[in-house]
């Protein structure tokens, strides 16, 4: 198979959400002498971009994004040892701490954002759900992220996004990070109102916004 053809098959394995196929193709790539970093960036990752776009416009849904994420992870896991052996690395695009705010247990949206950011080379620390402002603060101190992502699905817990920002300000750490907010009741106006840096509408939008926020590093 030509290299070009192999890249297309890799992308397709991610689009179709087939982890075993992705794993097998990753092995084939190595056997064919393709650089593991190229296999990721030219082959598998473009498939994830395609699914991300489809998700953003309602042609793909949560299960599609999740299975594609699994396929991409499987490919990267297969390629990782060779990446390490060759002292290559995916460029770490930035560090992100993400979580659903206190009182809120909705996790799917947040998890999708984490998946898409990781797929795009970000180092993501997912704190889970019902995360207190103090826990966000601890994570900022521990991981020194570039971006903090706050998810809230309820109008009533949305206020806790502001609580996190206030906590960061009081600790003198607000300026060390960019804060991005998301979730159904959030909006660009809301982000502005509470002094967040940005709002993202969905996982695909979040990647675009986080890339913009970290570009000026």
């Amino acid at each position: 198979m030509s290299q070009e053809r192999l890249y297309q098959e890799m992308a397709q394995s991610v689009i179709a959400g087939l982890p075993d196929r992705a794993r097998a193709l990753a092995g084939e790539a190595l056997a064919a002498g393709i650089e593991p970093i190229d296999a990721i960036e030219e082959g598998f990752k473009p498939g994830m971009d395609t699914v991300g776009e489809a998700f953003a416009c309602g042609e793909a849904f949560i299960p599609d994004l999740m299975m594609s994420g699994e396929a991409l992870k499987a490919a990267i896991a297969t390629l990782e040892p060779e990446l390490m052996a060759r002292r290559q690395q995916r460029q770490v695009s930035g560090k992100v701490v993400i979580g659903t705010v206190q009182g809120d247990i909705h996790e799917i949206g947040k998890t999708l954002v984490a998946t898409m950011l990781a797929a795009n080379g970000f180092e993501v620390h997912d704190l889970g759900v019902d995360v207190s402002p103090a826990a966000f603060l601890d994570a900022v101190r521990q991981f020194e992220p570039d971006v903090v992502g706050l998810s809230a699905l309820l109008t009533t817990t949305l206020l806790n996004q502001e609580a996190v920002i206030t906590t960061l300000k009081e600790a003198g750490l607000r300026d060390r990070v960019k804060v991005i907010v998301g979730g159904v009741p959030a909006s660009p106006e809301w982000a502005q109102e509470i002094g967040a840096n940005a709002y993202a509408e969905n996982a695909t939008d979040a990647v675009r916004v986080v890339k913009e926020l970290t570009a000026s590093k």
Binding site: C57, G58, A60, F61, I62, P63, D64, M66, M67, Q102, G103, D104, I105, I108, D130, L154, T155, T156, T157, L158, L159, N160, E162, V184, P185, A186, S187, E189, W190, E193
Partner: protein, 296 residues
Amino acid sequence: MRTALNAGRVLIADGATGTMLQGEGLPVGLPGEAWVLERPDVIVKLHRAYLDAGSDLILTTTFGGTRPRLARARLDDRVPEINRRAAELAREAVQGKAYAGREAGPFVGGDVGPTGEMMSPLGKLTYQAAVDLFAEQIGALAEGGVDCIWIETMSALEEARAAIEAARQVTDLPLFCTFSFDTHGRTGMGLSPSQAAAAVAELGVDATGANCGHAPEEVLDFLPAMSAAAHGLTLIAKPNAGIPRMVGRQAVYDAGPERMAALARQYVELGATIVGTCCGSSPAHIAAIAAEIKLR
């Protein structure tokens, strides 16, 4: 209840619970189910507020009443008790003398919401485990005396199937199953209104429809699709009172009582015979809907 359903009478359901309880002091982050135990007086008071506004069918305060949801509030050791008690409180509410003269009901629906866990293979919850979780809740609701089981806000078809199977294992009560079409006209898991309706019709539910979701206007498209896919089933419309927007620190849902009443009239024209409201609504919305529907 079956008589009312078979006669095709239009029944007015109820509206939002969480935000209304928060208005009475329920702390953010504490589920309403906690107050089934701690503040039953407030639960009954809210039920009565909807009944007074015109609800013919009220839902038990058990949307988050499955074990995994209650575990988050460390109430998972009291799953059957909470569900049974919530049903008893709703029963107590409908037995008020003020409602005795009604033509139909008022009825109590056992509210069954999602477990909050993703079903395998995407997540860790197996089908059988899901069936067991729902059976535990539904059995207790039936014991508590509900008139029907209302599985709502479903997104994943597998989860809805598990809830329906569980219900059929433990009770013969009428069974409703509604879905939240909140993502480009489908559920978040990609299920379309017609797919959902066809699937649950085959499983023998008595009623299906749309609840929660995105904009209530979208339900005008969902109802015909569901009706076509599920011939003969009772149709339900219980959408949000619009789309939420933050105005300062307050959430405002942009469809007021008049708008929801006008939409309710259209839902009924499209064949819905159970109409209510979901997030962002209050007894005022139900009162407007009841007034509009009773004009027929």
